[in-house]
Amino acid sequence: MRFQNRFLFFALAVALLALPLGVKSDVVLTILVFSWLQGMLAVSFNLIFGFTGQLTMFHAAAFGIAGYATHLSMQHLGVGYWTGTVLAALFVSVLSIIVGTICFRFRLKEFYFAIVTLAFSEMARLTVLNWNSVTNGTLGINLQEKPWLFGFKVNDTVSWYYLSLVALAVTLLVCSRLVHSWMGRCFSAIRLNDELGDTLGINVFRYKLAAFVAGNFIAAVTGSLYAYYLGSLEPGFLSIDQSLGIVAMVLLGGRSSVFAPVVGAVLLTALPHLIHFSAEVRSIVYGSILILTILVMPQGIYGSIAALLRKRHAS
């Protein structure tokens, strides 16, 4: 079983790495780049939502702010793309510590946590929208620069494919290590019964904050990559719809495993491209998927398949 898993994993990695050799279609590769980046976003959200049990609505803000912060630090501090990304991720981490401290010190839970993080996210969006001199308001910003890596300019779709794939792999590795460590066990304790965790000596506040900051940090890195791949930035990055899209990806994929949200991200990113939908029909499809997933398979695709396999294994 163990060996089989490892073999499957290895085969998948080789297939994904070799994919651009066989697939020359720019459209397919572009869809995959977006899928990997959305996957990172979904996996990092799930660290806070699926593993620690906190329904954060701040994720779109972390994602969007990082794009702007990278651009601004490159423009005003004269740093390169990667330094800019690190600075942006640190800035977002500081914001997350502030927001998280406010929410968790006051013990906001469930719906109240969602509402207050949503409020902070909206404040961030309206600031970006209205601070014209810095963010160029509704019009957004065109990003001409592309990142350099080991002497190569990450410019064409194939190099972006590899960059995003590696970024996703690192995210999965980091999250998986975190979740399966003692810290991940603290996250589970908080999600399942925080009062009991408290009496067992777990500092609930500290580990809620740790999950929140770690998730937002990864979201920030994703936001910076996403903006520079897309080549533009606009306040819509921070919108409620963006947060809800992330929730939909995680629910569809499944929230019980580190990898599962990627499945949801790939499906929901690829779907609108495979069939040509108008914006309205896409919204209808998204909404229906959200409703059906919750009512029909609340564990998501991954969870449902895993449960099926377990049942077959047992019988």
Partner: protein
């Protein structure tokens, strides 16, 4: 003196739940606190565990006041409490409960170096060995890999004790560990608690089951209407006329 309770009083509005109670617990002993239902036992235990502030008086844990500390800090200082109604993580197995409860052990052993286990998971191994050991001590081997939602009530209560033990307590406060258990399960519990005493763990047990406490405790404290009415060797306390009155008087009222 490990724990010192000084003139502890707790009032809820007009109701005095605990009235001017003082006692001490020394290292290595088993202290039983008993009294009829509604005599303020659970309130006293919550006060002692620092979970609620007293109206008057105080509790010194290793000569330091613990009132107002968050629960996780109290646990970290070596004073651990179990719940009367077992509190569990429904989705996890028995062994996974113990791995979560290994948190304090890891924190004490590695301090901030425990972040290194994120890169080298083998450093956390000691906690897993301890978990396996405590599964044995608590006679939970048979249900080690079963989900908390599937085990019996007796096993749930025992799992509560097992998690508390994982925290390496210097003083373990047990809130009615025998309530709701069958005769066989009580025997099992007694054996486990005797093992713990043999290993030098200090215990403070609260129960209204007089027989169970009488067999186990080194010293007994009788509680009635929130006040201490007797203290001493268990069989002496059980013969104390005030204690007899408290129990019999109560049962006569009920009829």
């Amino acid at each position: 003196m490990l724990l010192e309770v000084r003139k502890l009083t707790k009032r809820f509005g007009g109701l005095t739940a605990v009235a001017d109670v003082s006692f001490g617990i020394s290292k290595g002993e088993i202290v039983g606190i008993f009294g009829p239902n509604g005599s303020g036992k659970t309130t006293l235990l919550n006060l002692v565990a620092g979970l609620m502030p007293p109206t008057e008086g105080g509790v010194l844990w290793k000569s330091v006041p613990i009132q107002g500390l968050p629960a996780h800090e109290v646990a970290a200082s070596g004073l651990v409490k179990t719940f009367q109604n077992p509190q569990l993580f429904a989705e996890l197995t028995v062994l996974e409960h113990l791995h979560i409860a290994a948190h304090l052990e890891l924190k004490r052993r590695l301090g901030w170096r425990r972040l290194a286990t994120l890169v080298r998971p083998d450093l956390a191994q000691a906690g897993h060995e301890r978990a396996a050991q405590i599964v044995r001590i608590c006679r939970l081997e048979a249900s080690r890999d079963r989900l908390a939602a599937e085990i019996s009530y007796g096993e749930e209560k025992m799992l509560g004790v097992a998690m508390a033990l994982m925290c390496e307590p210097e003083l373990l406060l047990l809130d009615e560990p025998a309530s709701g258990l069958g005769a066989g399960e009580i025997e099992n519990l007694e054996a486990v608690l005797r093992d713990l005493k043999a290993q030098g763990t200090t215990l403070c047990i609260i129960d209204h089951k007089v027989g169970f406490l009488g067999r186990l405790a080194d010293r007994a404290i009788g509680l009635h209407h929130g006040a201490k009415i007797a203290e001493g060797a268990p069989d002496e306390v059980l013969r104390n006329p005030d204690v007899v009155m408290a129990y019999l008087g109560h049962s006569r009222d009920r009829i």
